[in-house]
Amino acid sequence: MNIRKKSRLQQYAMLSPAILALGLLFALPFALSFWFSFTDQHLVPRPIPTRFIGLRNYERILTDDDFWQAVTNTILFSCLVVPLQLVVSLGTALILNAKIPFRSAFRAIAILPLLLPMTVVVAIWAVIYRIPNGALNAVYQLVAGPGAYIDWLGSSSTAMVSVVVLSAWATFPYQMLIYLAGLQDISPELYEAARVDGATPGSGFAMSPGRACAMSTSSS
């Protein structure tokens, strides 16, 4: 056996545990799921045999209004929450990267939503959205008069926006930390060079922090 052939065998031998694990944990379940989708297989055991039912499962799901509602809601939610998260986290990162008083304290406060368990986040926002006398409705009543309220989570016109705001608030610190790390990675000499070249704050951002942020956005 020549050295090259031996080396290739060694490579396959070293890869085999990972390939085996991927096959067992990903490829096999995926293939089984695909096969089961053409049968009436149930999760729990049952005393009747599993039958081949062709495309019936697909026919049912594709004609189910609830399924299409869920698809629409998921797309809408993603289209709203991702840009909002990115804008809020970039803005916060830029502020916290600037030399402002109590910067460390503000940084600690800004990442608090990330440290809270989701149950606590939901409890906080339940108080904010509560009807008729939650925090947000108290503000609304200053404008619309006493007794007026909006059912933020119960009305079909406001429920999606309410959930988007909650979700963006709960998770924006994660993206913010990535942006902040990207911004702090920029050498001060780059800012100085941009100033010497006559860059305005806007064009300066596009040249150096903007590029860092573009890279951070793709990683986040």
Binding site: V44, P45, P47, I48, P132, G154
Partner: protein, 423 residues
């Protein structure tokens, strides 16, 4: 020498048979805060009551999922609590074994009718589950607000409000400045078993149901004209602002006291009593039709997995946990109704002079067992979704009930009619 050998063999045989009799049981129970003290004392008292067996009572978080996972992996305990409506599904899949021979006949005779009906599997007529408690629901009232609105409060099931009378009461209460929404129907609990437990009685009171219990077909029953009319009326109450919305939270009746009535089961006893004190009044379930007032019943109960083999020890544990003393203790600690008729008189809360006597009256006269059928998990999920859409989303009532019926019938068809139930 011979004598010594015989003695040694005899000693070995005796100790071996003693060891063979001594069994160690694992019992799975729900992880509720109100039930934990009860289960702790049950383990302690059973282990102290005899020297042959020991029991380890384990509260399990995420109970239903844990049972499903253990069923698949073959790791079920010796005894476990099973939610009554899911019993038939577990029997059909071969997960449970009958317990008629394990339970003292005297205990079986003493069970409330609803408890016996809940635990009996139709096709073979055998008992598979026995609950230490029963449940029922009533209208809870705030006496101060009801009197302020000039409302006469019914005291027995014979003079329960009709749907028209209840609507009139709600209109009067709505007019009070202190009342925001008159009736809390616990929509804040979200989509779950409560929506079936809480709403099915209104349909049954009017002669309706979620499925035909002879043919096991939902179409024509779930979406009957009678059911549509009842659900449209309830939807109308939401639109009129009579019902506390889901997003308003749980405490409008007992906390903020801006709701004058609440429709919920006996498990809210201590919370309501703490919140309203002497203003708390129990009102019979409303009558929506010819069948009069109706309440759901049942709950968790003891069941034995088919894989369990330590039957003598299991029988001993079941009879101990269903003893009059233990059933009474369950009621006193958790606030549920004792499952044995003879234990009711021992309960401070539920005896005829007790504050909760109306619950026992309702449990005896007016409870209706939820369908005992293997398709129940799908039946309840489909109906609860329909109720949620109707009560919170201004959905078309007939469309929602049609969809629920279709979902249930499809599931029954997918399972070949759940033989031997048949179609």
């Amino acid at each position: 020498m011979k004598l010594k050998t015989l003695f040694l063999i005899g000693t070995a045989v005796v100790s071996f048979s003693a060891t063979a009799r001594a069994e160690s049981l694992t019992v799975w129970v729900i992880n509720g805060d109100s039930e934990k003290p009860y289960f702790a004392q049950l383990e302690e008292k059973y282990n102290a009551s005899q020297s042959e067996n020991t029991v380890d009572v384990v509260p399990i978080p995420g109970y239903t999922q844990a049972i499903q996972a253990a069923t698949l992996s073959g790791d079920l305990p010796d005894v476990m609590l099973v939610d009554g409506p899911n019993m038939a599904s577990l029997v059909w899949t071969g997960t449970l074994q009958p317990i008629d021979d394990l339970l003292d006949p005297e205990i079986k005779k003493d069970l409330l009718p609803g408890i016996l009906a809940q635990g009996t599997y139709g096709p073979d007529g055998k008992l598979y589950q026995v609950g230490p408690y029963d449940s029922s629901e009533v209208l809870w009232g705030n006496r101060k607000l009801l009197e302020e609105a000039g409302i006469e409060i019914p005291t027995s099931v014979d003079d329960a409000w009709t749907a028209d009378q209840l609507e009139d009461v709600l209109a009067k209460l709505k007019a009070l400045p202190a009342v925001e929404w008159p009736l809390d129907m616990k929509l804040s609990d979200g989509v779950g078993e409560w929506l079936t437990y809480g709403w099915l009685p209104f349909l049954e009171s009017n002669g309706g149901d979620v499925i035909d219990r002879e043919t096991w077909v939902a179409d024509g029953t779930m979406n009957s004209d009678a059911n549509v009319a009842i659900m449209e009326r309830l939807s109308d109450w939401v639109n009129k602002g009579y019902i506390v919305p889901a997003s308003a939270g749980d405490n409008k009746f007992y906390g903020e006291k801006t709701a004058a009535l609440a429709w919920v089961g006996n498990w809210m006893w201590s919370t309501h009593e703490k919140g309203l004190g002497d203003d708390l009044v129990l009102i019979p379930p409303p009558s929506f039709g010819d069948k009069g007032p109706v309440s759901s019943n049942g709950g968790f109960g003891w069941a034995v997995p088919a894989s369990s083999t330590k039957l003598n020890a299991i029988s001993s544990f079941l009879n101990f946990s269903m003893s009059r003393e233990q059933v009474g203790l369950y009621a006193d600690i958790t606030g549920y109704i004792p499952a044995r008729s003879s234990a009711v008189s021992f309960s401070k809360l539920y005896s005829s002079e007790g504050k909760g006597a109306l619950f026992v009256d309702v449990a005896n006269c007016c409870t209706m067992v939820r369908p005992v059928h293997p398709a129940y998990p799908v039946i309840t999920s489909a109906f609860a979704n329909a109720v949620d859409h109707i009560m919170t989303g201004k959905a078309d009532v007939r469309d929602e009930l049609d969809n629920a019926a279709e979902t249930i019938d499809e599931d029954i068809e997918d399972n070949a009619g759940y033989p031997p139930f048949g179609r």
